[in-house]
């Protein structure tokens, strides 16, 4: 009965603050991860009811085994040619990332974000989607653009904020927008575009279109309200959208446990919305491809949305403004039990007899040169500090038509000689 108290007998409550398994100075410790062998997860029919798939998000879909063989139900059986194209795109992504960070150190750009260790995600997913499917990425899926053959020189011009920067110097480096490549405008705010993808997908369905949408959000960012909005709307209206959570274990200095990842998998968030949730080895090109393909087929046949957790590790710093040795063991990336996506696909191709160490080294060199050439071309249009466009353009695009007060402010700026 209310009022009846047994307080005296009760032990005090305690606040639980989750902690990662290792901090700087300690040995990396992934012993808590239970990773079952590749090929052990059954692949359900793409039309299976979500209610039949509730345990799936607690498993880990893997195709490439420790020896680089493709095994199990989820093996997408891609031709070697496609695999080589995928490898190339991942390697080009990596080459671009490496070069840009060097240029940042040289002061040619102010900022950069690498996707090291996560290249399979953007790339394999672009391969599994159709080219005109619409992507709503976070800042770590540059692989999408590369896989869609978007000219890297265009990206570098944005990174340099130079005269050819299509975004007119308005955005921080890497906050691209490439409508033609089905790549939605990025913003510094994390998470806000995740539900846009659902709206876009609803619009596609509304219009009787055949294009679907895909969106990416980080493990950390899944805590934002926008994540919940996206899942709710996707579930209710059965929007043709693939909602991806990239669980790279870290959100700047904060480990995934602070987003709830120690209590359940991010894929399992799907369960409560009646959506399928797939948890995938994000460093396994074939598994990422296969899971994305499954979700795309489901969406395209009016089966609605799928949540995919891409289980991976952020091998580099958060951004060029970050130093991860301040909050995690320096060599933690090297101990990540799921390896490196480029290395794993390479071994698989070699195992198939469709690739070799020599061809790999040669390709790496070619790609490096490709990036250097693109940098040279971009540099010819200016780097950091080169005015990207006429400052007057600053007043354009706030509205479709420049209103009186912005014309006035533009004149004021000109009169000030700025």
């Amino acid at each position: 009965m209310p009022g009846h108290s047994t307080r005296g007998l009760q032990a005090p409550l305690q606040l639980h603050i989750p902690e990662p398994s290792a901090r700087p100075g300690e040995a990396p410790d992934f012993s808590g991860l239970v990773i079952l062998p590749a090929g052990t997860v059954a692949r359900p029919d793409v039309h299976a009811p979500a209610a039949a798939l509730r345990e799936l998000p607690f498993q880990l879909i893997r195709v490439l085994d420790d020896d680089g063989h493709a095994v199990g139900d989820w093996n997408p059986h891609l031709p070697a040619e496609t695999l080589r194209a995928g490898l190339r795109a991942m390697m080009l992504t990596r080459a671009l990332d490496e070069r840009m960070v060097r240029l940042q150190r040289q002061g040619k750009t102010s900022f950069y974000i690498k996707s090291s260790g996560e290249e399979a995600i953007g790339v394999a997913q672009a391969f599994a989607l159709q080219r005109d499917d619409m992507c709503f990425p976070s800042y770590r899926q540059q692989g999408l653009l590369i896989a869609r053959d978007w000219p890297i020189v265009d990206l570098i011009c944005q990174i340099f904020n130079n005269r050819k920067d299509r975004l007119k110097g308005r955005q921080l480096p890497i906050l691209y927008s490439c409508r033609e490549a089905g790549f939605y405008s990025l913003s510094g705010n994390v998470g806000t575009r995740f539900p846009h993808a659902v709206g876009w997908a609803m619009a596609s369905a509304y219009s009787g279109d055949t294009r679907i949408a895909a969106a990416w959000i980080g493990d950390g960012t899944s805590a934002e309200g926008d994540f919940h909005y996206a899942l709710t709307f996707a579930s209710v209206y059965r929007a043709p959208v693939i909602l991806n959570v990239v669980n790279n274990q870290w959100a700047i200095s904060t480990f995934q446990g602070i987003a709830g990842g120690d209590e359940a998998t991010f894929a399992s968030r799907a369960v409560g919305y009646g959506l399928p949730g797939l948890r995938v080895d994000g460093n396994d090109f074939l598994a990422v491809y296969a899971a994305t393909r499954w979700a795309a087929e489901r969406a395209r046949s009016n089966g609605g949305a799928t949540l995919i957790e891409l289980y991976t590790y952020r091998a580099a710093a958060h951004s060029t403004s970050d130093d991860p040795s301040k909050y995690r063991p320096q060599d933690e990336a090297a101990h990540w039990p799921l390896g490196d996506p480029v290395e794993r696909l390479k071994q698989h191709l070699i195992g198939l007899g469709a690739w070799s160490e020599e061809r790999h080294a040669a390709l790496a060199e070619t790609l490096d040169e490709e990036v250097r050439a693109a940098v040279r071309e971009a540099e010819s249009h200016g780097t950091l500090g080169t005015p990207p466009a006429d400052p007057e353009t600053m007043f354009d695009d706030v509205f479709e038509h420049v209103p009186w007060h912005l014309r006035e402010q533009r004149d004021e700026m000109k009169a000030e000689g700025l």
């Binding site: 955005q171 927008s177 490439c178 705010n189 539900p195 709206g199 509304y206 919940h228 509205f399 209103p403």
Partner: protein, 337 residues
Amino acid sequence: MTAMNMVQALNSAMDVMLERDPTVLIFGEDVGYFGGVFRCTAGLQQKHGKRRVFDAPIAEGGIVAAAIGMGAYGLRPVVEIQFADYILPAFDQLVSEASRLRYRSAGEFWAPITVRAPCGGGIHGGQTHSQSPEAIFTHISGLKTVMPSNPYDAKGLLIAAIEDNDPVVFLEPKRLYNGPFDGHHDRPLQSWSAHPAGEVPDDYYRIELGQAAIVRPGAQVTVLTYGTMVHVCLATVDACGIDAEIIDLRTLFPLDIDTITASLRKTGRCVIAHEASRASGLGAELAAQLQQRCFYSLEAPIERVTGWDTPYPHAFEWQYFPGPGRVERALKRVMEA
């Protein structure tokens, strides 16, 4: 022409646009089968089908976010937020996304969305069904903010807002839905049927955004106002015999600065009236602009008649609401200064 109240005029605007433009669709809390808690979308689902007009989850942020995504696809969504008080969970989507999308993508993507919401007090709605949040939107570069004061304007402005390729926050003074409330809460309710602006064309027409209306020409003092306060000011001026020029801003941002400054240069005196609380309200921006642009014409300090800087207190509605008495005394102060 049909006699319409403001609810019917808004309904007619949406009906016309659903008919004309297959990319227009409407969603929001309770707007589908039921037709909205204020009935603004009544009958639209029945007429245009549930694909075009449907209910949304109670997630204002999700509603606006989904609308932005649809806008980026090429649709022209019109969403209803049940009360303007509840637009705040969508504030980040409006500010960080809707208002910036065109700019940051250098025109690759934009959000041609209309966000409708009933606003304002005078209906015994208490703290969370009475607010007038317009000022915060007018601080955001990239948003347009509109507030009609009568059925005729409501329809024409809503059509213009829906057709606009920029995001528009469309605030509807709910106290005016059924009649031109003049602030005399102790007198019988008035109805739109007796008001010229209650005569509304059935078909398509636009009232361009960015244009204020001089609802009463006058020579002695300029009154800048909008929404419900237009009628409060009209009634007050009629009663107190001051020859005030009353301007209904209609679009709160971007302002129709020419109409406003021309009037002030003529009268040299100004009262600004709005329901929203005073500090950093829209009246501040108006006063700041005018003291700068018309400094040498000003014969008296510009006065603001506004809601107090407190939450909207339910039982003290008529002490809070800037009614005719307060408007009149402000006019007199300005005239006597």
